[in-house]
């Protein structure tokens, strides 16, 4: 399968999608490495012909139910115990809206 080489710009785009703030040096390095890896794994196209069903789970189970019983949750104190920042019984997070 012919593939376009992975460009530095493409890596920068992937990093943005994956919320990874990469350095210039990392972008250069990953562009080369991802290109080698992707051209190698593209070999799956040699045998994956039309009509072969995909497998997402090797040992499938269907209709998994549990008894509808109330299980006590861990509670707010335990949930907040390891928070990087908490305030007034809630997680404190940085601003979520842009300033402009």
């Amino acid at each position: 399968m012919a593939c376009m080489p992975i460009t530095r710009e493409e890596v920068a785009h992937l990093a943005r999608l994956a919320r990874l703030s990469l350095t210039e040096e990392e972008l250069d390095r990953y562009a080369g490495q991802l290109d080698v890896i992707i051209s190698s794994v593209a070999r799956v196209g040699e045998v994956a012909a039309d009509g072969i069903p995909p497998t997402s789970q090797a040992v499938p189970v269907t209709n998994v139910f549990r008894d509808d019983v109330i299980v006590p949750p861990i509670g707010a104190a335990a949930a907040l115990d390891q928070a990087p920042a908490a305030e007034a019984g809630q997680f404190r997070v940085p601003r979520i809206l842009a300033e402009d």
């Binding site: 399968m1 992975i6 493409e10 890596v11 992937l14 990093a15 943005r16 999608l17 994956a18 919320r19 990874l20 703030s21 990469l22 990392e26 990953y30 490495q33 991802l34 080698v36 890896i37 992707i38 190698s40 794994v41 593209a42 070999r43 799956v44 196209g45 040699e46 045998v47 994956a48 012909a49 072969i52 069903p53 995909p54 497998t55 997402s56 789970q57 090797a58 040992v59 189970v61 998994v64 549990r66 861990i74 335990a78 949930a79 115990d81 390891q82 928070a83 990087p84 920042a85 997680f91 997070v93 940085p94 601003r95 979520i96 809206l97 842009a98």
Partner: protein, 503 residues
């Protein structure tokens, strides 16, 4: 009882404790002392919980004194991979992003260990989020192979394999996604088992690739591995992919150790080119040994196994890119760059860049690429089709053979640093183990000798159909017993990296 407590098997220690020859506190203290003596060089543990371990051992001794019914492994110490949550110990997954994290709950596997009376000594090192084959991707530095401290102990469960090999614990937990139990077991000369997918619970196991992740045991003998397999497995309503089926009778199978009349399939594609000559030599000798024990040897082909590695390196990173999105710097774990100016999204990106190591970033981006629109069909979709072809190969092979065998790894333990800058070379370590992860069937690695060219352990892989885990224990125990008769001692007695002369 005779000899040093740390040289005993789990079964031996359990019997001695049940007979009142030694207490659980004495057994635990002996292993803590061993950790103090050697772990500065082995670096198997990220956290040692000495006081908690002694308290757990004391509780077992008290229960025994009171005549309470105890499980077959009560009082036996165990090293626990740092990917399982533990409410009373940190859980880091070998990552800076979870440094110091204290989970609010126990994983189901952790809970089962405690209920079985196993004494958790501490948490073991691993490649970050289980991505790797050497522990070199741990943010806390690599563990060392007790056969040769300059070499890797395998990975990702390399802290666990190193701990068991260094006699710091008779048992350890691991997780296998692409070979992360069998490969470290093989290169350390111990037993490593990937149970059938869904046979052991993923609840509280920090997720890497959810359709592949499988907890399992590491031990120095096949019987010990079976005892731990039985103790840690079974249906769990908290894991929606957990199989509602009885645990296969693995302990009975390990005791049976009989292969007469069994059809053993040698997979052509898992051997030959790319495999070290000494690895192939010991593998071929072990197949001949099985034949001499009454097994029927069948040569067979699984043509799509050659495509298992590329399929795996699309499927696993794709699932990882999704699973690791949870590390968002908001609810737990590291938060970096929260200066009151940066937005939540910027803080997230700065934190993930600071908290994840190079291999984790590489796989997140690889997975993001494979799942992105325009590439999904060509990469992730085709990898899922190859997964079907691999499963069909297994189904056809298991019509001709009861178990399949191969070398567990293409090479013996490589040197620390040797493959660190070459991701593709590192990925090849899982060449023989990945097919069973993709297909979800059970597989076990048992030591089968030392490669003549470097004197390092070689693993023999035995693969069994889904929920026929007991079959591979029968074969593994037969191989182990026959080889020990030949050698006159267990292979691990020849490990000289730590204590100088072998025994």
């Amino acid at each position: 009882m005779d000899g040093e407590l740390t040289r005993q098997t789990a079964a031996g220690l359990a019997a001695a404790m049940a007979a009142g020859e030694v207490s659980a506190v004495e057994v635990t203290q002996a292993h803590l002392d061993r950790i103090t003596a050697v772990d500065g060089r082995v670096k198997a543990f990220l956290h040692v919980a000495a006081e908690r371990a002694l308290a757990a051992a004391r509780a077992v001794d008290d229960q025994r004194a009171a005549g309470a019914p105890l499980g077959p492994l009560a009082g036996v110490p165990i090293a626990h991979k740092d990917v399982f949550t533990t409410a009373d110990m940190p859980t880091t997954c070998g990552s800076k992003i979870l440094e110091g994290w204290q989970p609010p709950y126990d994983a189901t596997v952790t809970r089962r260990l405690r209920e079985a009376g196993l004494v958790i000594l501490g948490k073991t090192n691993m490649d970050e989020f289980a991505m790797g084959s050497s522990t070199e991707n741990s943010a806390y530095g690599p563990s060392h192979n007790p056969w040769d401290l300059d070499r890797v102990p395998g990975g990702s469960s390399g802290g666990s394999s190193a701990a068991v090999t260094a006699f710091e614990a008779p048992l350890a937990t691991g997780t296998d996604t692409g070979g992360s139990i069998r490969q470290p077991g093989a290169v350390c000369g111990i037993v490593g088992v990937k149970p059938t997918y869904g046979g052991s619970s993923r609840y509280g196991l920090v997720a890497f690739a959810s359709s592949l992740d499988t907890p399992g045991p590491l031990a120095r003998t096949v019987l010990d591995a079976a005892l731990l397999h039985e103790a840690m497995s079974g249906h769990d309503p908290c894991d929606s992919t957990s199989l509602d089926a009885a645990v296969p009778p693995v302990v009975a199978a390990a005791r049976q150790a009989d292969v007469s009349g069994l059809r053993v399939g040698v997979v052509t594609e898992l051997g030959g080119e790319g495999y070290q000559p000494g690895v192939m030599q010991r593998f071929t000798e072990t197949v001949e040994l099985l034949e001499s024990l009454g097994a029927k040897i069948v040569e067979l082909s699984c043509p799509h196994f050659a495509y298992a590695l590329p399929a795996y390196y699309l499927i696993a990173p794709s699932e990882a890119s999704s699973n690791l999105a949870r590390f968002d710097a908001m609810r737990y774990g590291l938060r970096a760059g929260d200066d009151g100016v940066r937005s939540a999204e910027e803080v997230m990106s700065v934190t993930r860049a600071a908290g994840f190591g190079a291999e984790v970033k590489r796989r997140i981006m690889l997975g993001t690429y494979a799942l992105s629109s325009g590439y999904y069909d060509a990469y992730y979709g085709k990898a899922q089709q190859v997964r079907t072809l691999v499963i069909r190969d297994f189904e056809a092979a298991f019509e001709q053979a009861d178990v399949l065998v191969s070398p567990s790894t293409p090479t013996t333990a490589f040197r620390i640093g040797e493959r660190a800058d070459d991701p593709m070379a590192m990925y090849l370590a899982d060449l023989a183990t990945i097919p069973s992860d993709l297909a979800g069937n059970a597989a076990l690695s048992v030591p089968c000798g030392l490669a003549p060219e470097d004197g390092l352990p070689v693993g023999f892989q035995i693969m069994a159909p889904v929920l026929a885990d007991d079959r591979m224990y029968r074969v593994g125990a037969a191989v182990e017993a026959a080889l020990q008769r030949r050698w006159g001692h267990p292979l691990i007695d020849e490990a000289r990296g730590l204590d100088g002369a072998g025994r």
